[in-house]
């Protein structure tokens, strides 16, 4: 993955790039009245019918692989000489962004809308947002963590790795949290890829440049996975997985980074993030302090939600201004 310049404006990044809209990836296409169309993508099943107005309809027909975004804008300016040029450019960029996220537009090179938003977290760590091509790196990281006891196959959700009964209990090397409500699965390749591909799960990665792997990429040192809202009409995402090395000084900055980036990264409007924690599964005190410090506040307790005597505690982080 090539980190991109986050300071560049979308328009500047896009102007010279050549988009191709793929009508062959439409599961459904209907010409409506007054120049509108309805489409349904076969490559993004989470999105159902989408209506494009006549202007959007014109734009996708210009995205035929023969012209750059700048040339598409020029053509539209020619068709609408009275429209403000900056409005035309903004509309085109917005449109193309949405369709690109739905995998209906391909590019003459890397997808410019998947920006990993790299950021310096301090203490020699960096944060970035994962994409499909990080799948194997995430799977390998999870396998390493599992091997060292952070993600035992059947440990209670939300708990750190349990030491065998009767043995001294050394502090685990990892702070590990898995949502008791969402399938943690095995963090296998298929599950990770599907979550990334569908923009269902957002993986925020903490990396350590000093621990380069053989491929020359930053080694993953920590993962925070957040799942998009599933119930219809919900605007609350859910923390699915936290896996961080214990005592990492960059961990608080990593959580802040993820919270700042989430509203932009998610293809839905979000108002907050929930973290569900089963009270009977002891939460590692260091992890509890980290979550508390990040700004999660107690929302409510759902008594016996997970079974007799197994209460579910709901914490909530509000995304300001969303």
């Amino acid at each position: 993955m090539t980190p991109q310049d986050t300071a560049a404006t979308p328009g500047a990044v896009l102007a010279g790039r050549v988009p191709t809209f793929h009508f062959d990836r439409l599961e459904y296409f209907r010409e409506e009245k007054e120049g509108y169309i309805t489409i349904r993508s076969s490559t993004h099943p989470e999105t159902n019918e989408v209506v494009l107005n006549p202007t959007a309809n014109q734009i996708i027909r210009l995205c035929d692989g023969s012209r750059s975004v700048a040339a598409v804008a020029a053509a539209m300016k020619g068709l609408y000489p009275k429209a403000p040029p900056d409005v035309i450019e903004r509309d085109i960029n917005t449109m193309i962004s949405s369709l690109s996220r739905m995998r209906l537009i391909d590019w003459d090179g890397p997808d410019p809308f998947h920006n990993p938003h790299p950021a310096d977290l301090g203490f020699g760590r960096r944060g970035r947002l994962a994409s499909e091509d990080d799948t194997q790196a995430i799977v390998d990281f999870a396998a390493r963590a599992r091997k060292s006891g952070a993600l035992p196959a059947r440990s209670p959700a939300g708990s750190p790795a349990a030491a065998p009964a009767g043995s001294p209990a050394p502090a685990p090397a990892w702070l590990a949290f898995r949502s008791p409500l969402l399938s943690p699965g095995g963090l296998g390749e298929l599950e990770v890829r599907q979550g990334l591909y569908a923009r269902l799960d957002h993986y925020f990665l903490m990396t350590c440049p000093s621990a380069d792997d053989r491929a020359g990429n930053d080694a993953i040192e920590g993962v925070l996975s957040i799942r998009s809202p599933l119930p219809y009409g919900s605007h609350l995402a859910v923390v699915r997985l936290i896996l961080l090395p214990r005592g990492c000084p960059a961990a608080p900055a990593f959580l802040r980074y993820a919270a700042d980036l989430l509203p932009a990264a998610a293809p839905f409007s979000l108002t907050g993030v929930r973290l569900y924690w089963e009270r009977s599964a002891a939460l590692d005190p260091d992890l509890a302090a980290l979550i508390d410090g990040a700004g999660f506040a107690a929302e409510r307790t759902m008594r016996d939600e997970m079974g007799p005597g197994r209460d579910l505690i709901v914490l909530r982080y509000s995304l300001g201004g969303a």
Partner: protein
């Protein structure tokens, strides 16, 4: 130049955008047609009393169904599901209808109890262009399924139907209605269906209406049983994902009444049609708003049917059903669905389109 926009009608949206959609959409996206309410079974839980309801003696003729489907193919919804009754009782019409829709670019699906399915019919369905068939299987054992279906031997035929459909390379889903005696069988049933090549299993609460209301005390699971079922489904989804395409769904029959009435009333992309041609906003409400015998369906749509859920009458009827136990109705002076005749109004002839235009 107008602002380029990209919006999803299935989502709640601002009123102006929804109003625009209602004006420009050529038709709904999702439709159902009861191709017949006649049935070869008398299942204890049947919500619309198939075979016995007031509609069975007044069904559309073959010619009327074909004319309706040609009209629908012209407006090209995403999907139309042939429901029932047992659709295979009108086998040739069903096959003809599937072809009309498929040729028009509409995904045609159907439901069946599987009793009349053969390898030959499955092959003909595939040839006609069927998109998906949903077979009802209501237990993991013959005893469970057949007890609800009210006839011995149904279970084996339902599973055989799935085999025929899978062999014809048709996408197969299964509907499972849990009962007091079968609710613990979801796991073995899911495993068996997966092995048979079923792609999705929809589990939905038993609807307390029609025959399901009559036999409710005998068959309806308890609240505690439902709670354990949901836990089972969650556990199955969490632990049994093999990475294949099997989809396990916990359906909610009431959800759409709230969603359409409260969120999508300015543009609702779903419409159902009864076996007698009555146009209905929901298969669970005793209200018809038109008939394809009086006007073509496309005429109703062009008159503003997308804004149907703005009707105060419809909103008040939907507001009475906010939970599964309330589905049977009849306690408040409105007709009991599928026992008594629906309230009948006509969106065009009664000028109802004027009520929803504002």
């Amino acid at each position: 130049m107008g602002v380029a926009s990209l919006t999803s009608p299935g989502q709640e949206m601002n009123p102006d955008t929804a109003r625009t959609h209602a004006r420009v959409l050529r038709g709904p996206y999702q439709m159902t047609l009861d191709i017949t309410n006649k049935c070869n079974l008398r299942c204890l839980h049947c919500f619309n009393r198939s075979g016995e309801n007031p509609i069975v003696e007044d069904e559309l003729s073959d010619d009327e169904v074909v004319a309706f489907l040609r009209d629908v193919a012209g407006i090209k919804p995403f999907n139309l599901c042939f429901c029932g009754g047992e659709p295979l009782l009108r086998r040739e019409l069903l096959l003809q209808g599937i072809k009309i829709l498929a040729d028009g670019g509409v995904k045609a699906s159907t439901v069946t109890n599987g009793q009349l399915m053969t390898a030959e019919i499955a092959r003909r369905m595939a040839d006609a262009g069927i998109y998906q068939v949903q077979v009802s299987v209501d237990g993991a054992t013959p005893e469970s399924h057949d007890r609800l279906r009210n006839r011995r031997g149904c279970f084996a035929k339902a599973l055989k139907a799935i085999e025929h459909l899978a062999a014809a390379k048709i996408k197969v889903g299964v509907a499972f209605t849990p009962t007091r005696w079968s609710i613990g069988e979801v796991e073995p049933l899911a495993r068996r269906l997966r092995d048979l090549g079923v792609s999705a299993m929809r589990v939905q609460a038993l609807m307390v209406m029609g025959r399901g209301q009559v036999y409710s005390e005998d068959i309806n699971p308890t609240a505690g049983q439902y709670r354990r079922l949901v836990a089972d489904l969650r556990r199955l989804r969490n632990t049994d994902a093999r990475g294949d395409s099997f989809h396990l769904e916990w359906g909610d029959p009431v959800d759409h009444l709230i969603r359409f009435s409260d969120m999508l009333d300015r543009c609702c992309p779903f419409i159902a049609v009864r076996a007698n041609g009555a146009i209905i906003p929901s298969i669970y409400l005793p209200l018809t708003v038109g008939s394809v015998r009086r006007h073509a369906f496309s005429e109703y749509w062009d008159a503003g049917l997308a804004r149907l859920w703005r009707l105060p009458l419809l909103k008040s009827m939907a507001a009475r059903v906010r939970s599964v136990p309330e589905m049977g109705g009849g306690d408040d002076g409105t007709p009991r669905p599928y026992w008594e005749r629906d309230l009948e109004v006509d969106f065009i002839d009664d000028l109802l389109f004027q009520e929803v235009a504002v």
